[in-house]
């Protein structure tokens, strides 16, 4: 180390150290030159560096920076979307296409023709009132092709007729029968649409319709949750979600619920006027989210009183509630989806633990495109299908896999409704409907129908629509 550097270092040392020269000389190396407590030093240093760089002659082969004008950074003048605008756009349901033709001779579905043989395998329009109700319960999905046609219409396929039969059976049994089904099938095979068809028929029959439009929304942790006081195994209520559900129920079932009045005195934290209609009760719950769960329970109790209409209770995306949710308990353990009150309520009815005293249908559709891994559900489907086929040896659970026992137990006694592809006649009907709507500009002949039927994987209706209407080349 040169002597001049030593002196400079010495000058940087604190005064008390430099006072004792012997000490200072020993600890010289301990002081670094840039030891400073100012936060501005880094900025200053940068500025110094820049200056020194600019002072250098321009580099060979590079453009002279003096001649270049520095661009001013582009000002962001774009208008930001308002809060929620993007989500609204994403979730927007378009049910009409004014460029599509109105299909001549398209009849509406009614209570009278619902079970008739004449509508089997035909395309039927949805009545306007039902469309409003279906929109209220979010039965239409953005992924479905409603926006391609003039007005919403459905194909009464074989499985739709089966649902119509279920409704007939429930009505015939005078409230003694609850039908529980899980709708399974390939991706885009029409599972959600079948739920929609079931809801449509229930609306037409003036049942009470309760629909959980997407199970994923319940468990991904996007709505607030709170432990329910007094629950033994801690249950969690989702107040905002339940309030929203109550408002949907009130909006969609106004016609039915406005005719029904309170018959019991529900024990609620807020006062409910006596002889209030059930719509009022639901609206009260929607308006006060903090009491939405007790009000939902009260509404349910009212609906299960004698001489009430049957209930259809449906969910889409069953796999999501057959696993842990994204919520955490106070112990930072994931909460099982079945510990959420609304899910628990649905699962009790799906598994048959709780009955519908006035009868009804409990429907759950699995999802193909947004399929969460739920080994319990997959296994239960295998078992149920093997049982339905009357096989002697049922599949057994792989003992090396950790089992979600609650999910397995809840699905033990549920039957499956498998959605197969359309038959060729049904495919032809729906393609003729596409052509009549002006969305398929081809002659619908046998050859074309069978080609498209094969290419859509044996009449998968979503693929059929994709191949004939959406992917026109």
């Amino acid at each position: 180390m040169s002597s001049s550097l030593c002196v400079r270092r010495l000058s940087l040392a604190p005064s008390d150290v430099s006072a004792h020269t012997s000490m200072a000389t020993r600890s010289l190396l301990a002081y670094s030159c840039n030891a400073s407590f100012s936060t501005s030093s880094a900025q200053l240093a940068q500025n110094l560096q820049k200056k020194s760089k600019a002072a250098l002659p321009p580099q060979r082969g590079t453009k002279n920076s003096v001649t270049l004008k520095r661009k001013t950074p582009a000002r962001d003048v774009g208008k930001r979307p308002a809060p929620g605008e993007r989500k609204a756009l994403r979730k927007r349901i378009v049910l009409s296409n004014i460029n599509a033709f109105e299909v001549p001779g398209l009849r509406d579905l009614h209570t009278t023709n619902m079970h008739a043989d004449s509508v089997k395998g035909r395309v039927m329009g949805l009545p306007g009132t039902v469309v409003d109700s279906l929109r209220a319960v979010e039965a239409f999905k953005t992924t479905q092709g409603w926006n391609l046609f003039r007005r919403p219409a459905i194909l009464m396929r074989r499985e739709s007729a089966q649902i119509a039969e279920f409704i007939q059976e429930v009505e015939a049994a005078q409230g003694k029968k609850t039908i529980r089904r899980i709708i399974i099938g390939d991706r885009a095979s029409g599972k959600s649409t079948l739920v929609l068809q079931a809801l449509t028929m229930a609306f037409l029959k003036e049942w009470v319709v309760i629909n959980l439009p997407d199970a994923k929304e319940i468990i991904i942790g996007h709505t607030e949750y709170a432990p329910m006081p007094g629950s033994n195994r801690t249950q969690y209520t989702q107040n905002v979600y339940t309030a929203n559900l109550l408002s949907q129920i009130a909006k969609a079932n106004t016609a039915v619920l406005s005719k029904l009045q309170l018959t019991t005195k529900p024990d609620l934290p807020i006062t409910v006027p006596p002889n209030a209609t059930l719509v009022k009760l639901a609206e009260l719950g929607a308006a006060t989210p903090e009491y939405s769960w007790p009000i939902f329970r009260a509404l349910w109790d009212e609906l299960t009183q004698p001489n009430r209409p049957p209930i259809i209770f449906a969910i889409d995306g069953l796999g999501h509630i057959m696993r842990d949710s994204a919520y955490l308990s106070t112990n930072f353990k994931p909460i099982h989806a079945h510990d959420l009150t609304i899910v628990r309520h649905f699962i009790d009815h799906l598994s048959g633990a709780a009955a519908l005293p006035n009868g009804g249908i409990v429907l759950a559709a699995t999802t193909g495109s947004n399929n969460p891994s739920s080994p319990a559900l997959d296994f239960s489907i295998q078992v149920a299908e093997a049982r339905a086929k009357g096989m002697n040896s049922l599949p057994t659970w792989n003992p090396y896999k950790s089992a979600d026992q609650r999910s397995l137990d809840s699905l033990k006694n549920v039957e499956m409704l498998r959605l197969n592809g359309l038959s060729k006649e049904e495919a032809r009907t729906i393609m003729e409907y596409y052509a009549a709507s002006g969305m398929l500009r081809r002659t619908v002949d046998n050859n074309f129908v069978s080609d498209q039927w094969t290419l859509s994987g044996g009449g998968n209706i979503g693929e059929l629509e994709r191949g004939t209407v959406k992917l026109r080349i």
């Binding site: 390939d186 094969t454 290419l455 994987g457 044996g458 992917l471």
Partner: protein, 417 residues
């Protein structure tokens, strides 16, 4: 030169010739005879390897002059004899640049000439032979043969091969044998497919690293690939169409069921391996579909994706022109409508489907269209063939009136004759 000197030199030459003639009759030296025999095994390369071969081989059949055998007792007078000798090589082509090739060529020519009168089979009916490639032939003769030269040999071989098999001389058979490849690929005949007792026909197809086995049975158009439906295994509609293309193009999609196993490679490769497998299995059921399958019109959508890269590479399409809605027309502008109409009519009238489809879908200006023709030729295969076969011939232009200058030239030629 004076006359006396000329006569003197003539005389001297005659005497020297007389001396030579006596020495040439000497029985110790074999007389070299001119021969057409092809001599392939020897060569005159200066490389060490060839030289060593030459040393090891008994050089009995050389095109060079035979070795002179000197007797022991006459060694005294050899110097005198050698002074009189002129060494003559066995083959006259010894002095050419490519002696072996020349010998072979001359020999084949002589064969053609010799058997020119023998009956021949009609063109295309001769037994299929794979001749040696020029590279293989070069290895045999070890001479730098150009392919154009070798092609002349191939032409001769082709002519000889067309001699009627019943009358084929042994000499020709032997000569042809030398030019055939060791293994004749045309001898490998594909085993004809069979329909088994369950009515299944099997076909195997490969594409890139995928391989597919397809069983085709009569049915209603159901397809199961690896136990999955067509829509489950192929997300893209294009791949689904590829997989069953043979059935779709022949309008038999509702008449057969397909059960297939496919493995290896990627999704598109698997789909295209299935194309071939299904087509082969279908041909077992209906062999007469072969020409229909060969000229199967290529789908526009299929074109757009599978040939897109090729076209881009060729410069027909600029990269980035493909949009979500489909390919856009080039920036240079569209073809003027009347011209486009005429071209379209021509190509509708029976051109190859590739060109028509591309023409419609890319709406190519004429410059790009010409490039496309070149591409098609480069691609070879069925589209080029189909185009060549069915292309509508343009009307021959009326010959222009000969100019006075041309008339004069013609008259002069007539006079000369």
């Amino acid at each position: 030169m004076k006359g006396g000197e000329l006569s003197r030199s003539l005389r001297r030459a005659i005497t020297s010739l007389g001396g030579l003639s006596t020495s040439q009759t000497n029985p110790r030296i074999r007389v070299a005879r001119r021969t057409f025999r092809p001599v392939a095994s020897t060569s005159f390369s200066t490389t060490s390897i060839r030289r060593s071969e030459l040393v090891s081989q008994p050089s009995g059949d050389s095109i060079a002059a035979p070795p002179i055998e000197f007797d022991e007792e006459e060694s005294q007078s050899d110097d005198a004899v050698l002074k009189k000798l002129r060494v003559v090589p066995a083959s006259p082509s010894y002095f050419s640049a490519k002696p072996d090739f020349t010998d072979n060529f001359i020999y084949l020519q002589s064969l053609v000439r010799k058997y020119a009168t023998l009956p021949v089979v009609p063109p295309g009916h001769a037994p299929r032979v794979a001749w040696k490639t020029v590279a293989q032939f070069r290895l045999v003769v070890n001479e730098p043969i150009k392919s154009a030269k070798y092609h002349r040999i191939i032409e001769l071989l082709h002519r000889l091969n067309h001699i009627h098999p019943a009358l084929m001389p042994a000499e020709v058979t032997e000569a042809l044998e030398k030019y055939k490849r060791d293994i004749n690929p045309h001898d490998n005949k594909a085993k004809p497919g069979v329909i088994d007792e369950f009515g299944r026909a099997k076909g195997i197809g490969r594409r890139k690293t995928s391989s597919a086995i397809a069983w085709v049975v009569e049915g209603e158009g159901e397809v199961l690939i690896n136990g999955k439906t067509l829509s489950q295994i192929f997300g893209r509609l294009h791949d689904r169409e590829s997989a069953v293309w043979a059935l779709k193009a022949t309008q038999r999609l509702d008449k057969y069921n397909v059960w297939a196993l496919v493995k290896g490679g990627g999704v598109t490769g698997q789909a295209e391996a299935l194309t071939l497998a299904v087509a082969k299995a279908l041909l077992v059921h209906e062999p007469l579909l072969k020409p229909a399958l060969r000229r199967a019109p290529i789908d526009a959508a299929q074109l757009r994706t599978s040939l897109f890269d090729d076209l881009t590479a060729f410069g027909c399409i600029w990269p980035g022109r493909e949009t979500k809605a489909g390919p856009r027309a080039p920036k240079g502008g569209l073809m003027p409508p009347p011209q486009f109409e005429t071209h379209l009519r021509q190509h509708r009238s029976g051109c190859c489907p590739l060109r028509t489809a591309l023409f419609l879908h890319y709406y190519l200006p004429i410059a790009y269209y010409n490039r496309l023709l070149l591409l098609e030729r480069a691609l070879g295969g069925r589209w080029a063939d189909a185009g060549a076969r069915t292309r509508a011939k343009p009307e021959p232009e009326p010959e222009p009136e000969p100019t006075p200058q041309q008339q004069r030239v013609e008259r002069d030629e007539k006079m000369a004759r």
